[in-house]
Amino acid sequence: MSRTAAILFLALVITGSASARQSASVSGFVRDAETRETLILANVLVQGTSSGAATNTSGYYVIDGLSAGTYRILASYLGYRSAVFDVTVAAGEARRLDIELEPEGLTTGEVVVEADRESVEERQRLGVARLTTAAIRQLPTVLEPDVFRSLQLLPGVKAASDFSSGLYVRGGSPDQTLILLDRTTVYNPSHLFGFFSTFNPDAIKDVRLFKGGFPAEYGGRIGSVVDVYNKDGNRRETRGRLSVGLLSSRAFLEGPYSRGSWMVAVRRSTLEPLFAGLRSADVEGIPNAFYFYDVNAKVNIDLGRGDKVSFSGYAGQDMLDASFLEGLDIGLTYGNRTFSADWTHLFSERLFSELTVTASRYASDADFSIARTEVGRNNSVYDLTMKGDLEYVHGEGHTVKGGFWVGMFTMRLANVFDARENFASRIHAPYGSAFVQQSWKASERWNLGGGLRLSWFGEGNHVRLEPRASAEYVTRQGVRLQAAYGRYAQYLTLISSEVFSGLDTWLTTGRGVEPAYGDQFVVGVKSFLPGSIGFEWEAYYRTMRDLFQLDPFLQDPAGVDYDRLFHFGYGRAYGTELTLTRSFGRATGFVGYTLGATRRRFDAINEGAYYPPKYDRLHDLTAVVNYDLSSKWRMTTAFTYATGQAYTEPASQYRLVDFPFTAEEQPALVSPFNAARLPDYHRLDIGFTNRGRFFGFADYELQLQVINAYARRNVWFYFFDFDPDEAAGLVKRETVPQIPVPVPNIAFSLSF
């Protein structure tokens, strides 16, 4: 398979080269007219032709292959008014055209529908979903607007529970999703032990989710990619935003300076007054201290017309200090730090480069004192990388991109028991990868893409070749027929808990532990229905081979050979997703439906047969509707229905009566693994947003929301009590619910 893909890729490069010729080009940056923030994946088209381009992650575009003449250039971006420019180019001219687009207001009555249709088309890439921060802030949410919880509403993305912000994309577990913030890997993107993600929506410019079939420039995970970019900061004026919510408060400030722009966003939990009140009321179980915070900051320095340097940083931490019983003390801190320095340089209008140095640190430190027995677990991950990309527009509709990614991954894990370190592991592994990919508009109807990624991981000295390919055919009616294939390799695995993410620990391949890898096949159909309703249908099939996960039956890792820490298995997932989107008018939103299945196979589980993991769901339906009640009021609703998750319903029990290590009988269950289903899941969230001027000096936004509006008591899991109060020998099934009652939320923001 790899050889076939390599030949295909070479053929594409050769044929693409043959099509190159001397021609005129138009290139430049596309920016927000209010803030001069660059726009990622904005669409720039030459009207009356099939020529066009989308901006890259730096907001830069190149349209090549133009003959001498005058053209009408149309630029569009979802949420912005389209703009039209008449441009005359001479033969061989490289014309610079920087574009600024005006953002729309809350009402969308004056939108040029045709242009916006085209901007939506850009979103219609295979396997790609994009979220705007405005949409994230509008969605009803539990306590806090959240990037990942918003992503969970998309077709093909599932949540483990109401309490988890983890992403289960197309049958993959959360560790199969690469999470990037300004091109820096984030290893535990959660606050409140998994309840919501670390990304402050105030600071985020763009969120893209590659659900599958992603191009060769991304790697390191076998499932999907979440690519998040911080805002650059307002280049025209200093602006700010203050938000107060039930859980936390946020402050955001951005502005220009002589050489560029800056941005800083701070968020901190504000639960201390609540805890103090509860403690004064003698409520038990209130922690001595609990808080989380995060800070995002970015500075951009314009070095010249074609050079820009930016420095971006993130720091976040959760801290819990709690005491229970007489002599049980818990101290837990975990958090991420990331830093990236990015230099973009235009060698010419057709050759764009980006060089990034990143540092990412994740650390968790859990200490327990139980009757003066000290128990602890300390884990840290340091990831230092350098990435470089070159993007060359080679001819009409032909772009070649290549790059490298080298790094040093260091992981430390130590367990302490009774004040003595009884397990310690340190992995210090260099790694690297290189890729080349191209996109080629082979004809008016055909768009072809191909790529190859070569990756290496020092721990175990594993090398993998990962071919990628894609094809798109556009019919005369504008219907896009798409297909993609990719092979993906993964050198990391995550020890995590669906219940609690504060102790997440990453492990790597090593001697005797091969990388996981998988193939993804994706096909799709994208079009528009009457009324500018976007229609997207995709089907996928993916394999997961050589999965390595911490052996769930390992009691004590001390003295165990590295490869014996794991159990190894396989997985597969397949499904189809249907999305209908309406982006314009008083009523906007989307309806998404997924019919999917995912299976796993590990020798020690289910007698080695395939089984559905807990997050497998056959049906998943989501409807998100925004409706402008007036110029000031907007209503947002989100409804979700999903097949109940898989669980294990015990069929039989036995008890060890004479077990020599306990005074009581020891129960054991005999069950077909995950062969039963929890009751179906459904939930409705409703929110209202009111906007206006606040005493003439700021714009305000008031949000009133109710989560789980009709009090659906969805089941999280069943717990089997072997020793209930009713009678010894009885087994009682207890239900642990998800959010069982309507949860109100109120938030107030001021923008100035």
Binding site: L325, E326, G327, A371, T373, D418, N422, I495, S497, E498, V499, P552, F553, Q555, D556, A558, G559, V560, L595, A604, I605, N606, E607, K614, Y615, H619, T643, G644, T648, P650, A651, S652, Q653, Y654, R655, L656, V657, D658, F659, P660, F661, T662, A663, Q666, A668, L669, V670, S671, P672, F673, A675, R677, L678, W716, F717, F719, A727, L730, V731, V736
Partner: protein, 306 residues
């Protein structure tokens, strides 16, 4: 087109009811026996699995009329000696050895049970090597003092892996009045400054800690001394009662270790998602349960109040 659409809708609607029906209970034989090095052969208990609808009653589920024996196997797998069993005559499903022969260390035993329905149940255990107690035999220590109780044992052995130990504590005077502060609070919600009447407390709550054990601990978790002996410190949180306690160090075989490992996962103590309950690994042919073995050392210790 319409019939296809109708079929598709029908398929979706029917598959929407994809709530796989919980499987039915199938009765299976269960064996339970634990050999201890140097001690007489342990009783063998034969019962059956039960459904989850009622109260589990081991004696009512006991299998009577079985023919039970334990066979000691030579290195080549051939029978070296056989220990026959007889029904206890008192407890249904309980079988006792007919002789007082002793369990030998580092040998393989096979348990065979011919059941009344004509089926055969069998299981094998490899007994851990001898476990020597080096020091001490008796000790006193003040609760939560810096002078933690330590025990040193000559390491047991096990083929193909490091030794795995389970530490057990059995209070010899398990009175609520003797509870240490942590357990007094955990069981009865009584803080250190509160006054309370021991006679008013529900003693059934003590059942969980009348014999408490650690999970399996690898030898590498303990301090290994130059003479290869292992020093084991008693963690304070394991001490539930003041007064005399019996401390046992058990070097366990694979079967007992497997039961601990998988039962822990069934009770929610693993990385599996909540509600995912794997079956305990099958170490018994023709049934379920545990036929295990261990080497054991026991010392008595007095925990003094600070």
């Amino acid at each position: 087109m319409r019939p296809i659409l109708a079929l598709l809708v029908l398929a979706l609607l029917t598959s929407a009811c994809d709530t796989t029906r919980p499987s039915d209970h199938v009765s299976e034989p269960v064996v339970e026996a634990y050999l201890i090095v140097g001690e007489a052969f342990a009783p063998v208990r034969l019962t059956r699995t039960d459904d989850l609808d009622g109260v589990y009653d081991a004696e009512a589920l006991g299998i009577v009329g079985a023919s039970v024996r334990v066979v000691e196997l030579a290195i080549d797998g051939s029978p070296a000696r056989t220990i026959d069993y007889r029904a206890s005559g008192v407890t249904r499903g309980l079988y006792l050895p007919v002789s007082d022969e002793r369990v030998r260390a580092a040998v393989r035993y096979r348990l065979e049970a011919d059941l009344p329905d004509g089926s055969r149940l069998s299981a094998e255990t490899v007994v851990p090597g001898e476990l020597d107690l080096i020091e001490p035999e008796r000790f006193e220590t003040v609760y939560q003092s810096t002078d933690q109780f330590e025990i040193r044992v000559g390491p047991s052995t096990y083929p193909g892996r490091q030794e795995i130990y389970v530490l057990s504590l059995q209070p010899l005077d398990p009175d609520p009045a003797n509870l240490t502060p942590f357990y007094l609070d955990a069981l009865y919600g009584i803080g250190p400054d509160e006054t309370w009447d021991p006679a008013s407390l529900d003693v059934t709550k003590l059942e969980d800690i009348l014999l408490a054990s650690s999970p399996p601990i690898n030898a590498a978790s303990f301090e290994r001394l130059p003479d290869q002996s292992i020093r084991i410190r008693l963690p304070w949180f394991s001490v539930a009662f003041f007064g005399p306690v019996r401390v046992q160090v058990n070097a366990i075989d694979d079967n007992i270790n497997d039961f601990f490992r998988y039962q822990n996962a069934q009770l929610g103590g693993s990385t599996l998602s909540p509600g995912e309950l794997p079956n305990i690994v099958d170490t018994v042919d023709g049934g379920r349960g545990v036929f295990g073995s261990m080497a054991r050392q026991t010392v008595e210790l007095t925990i003094l109040r600070p």
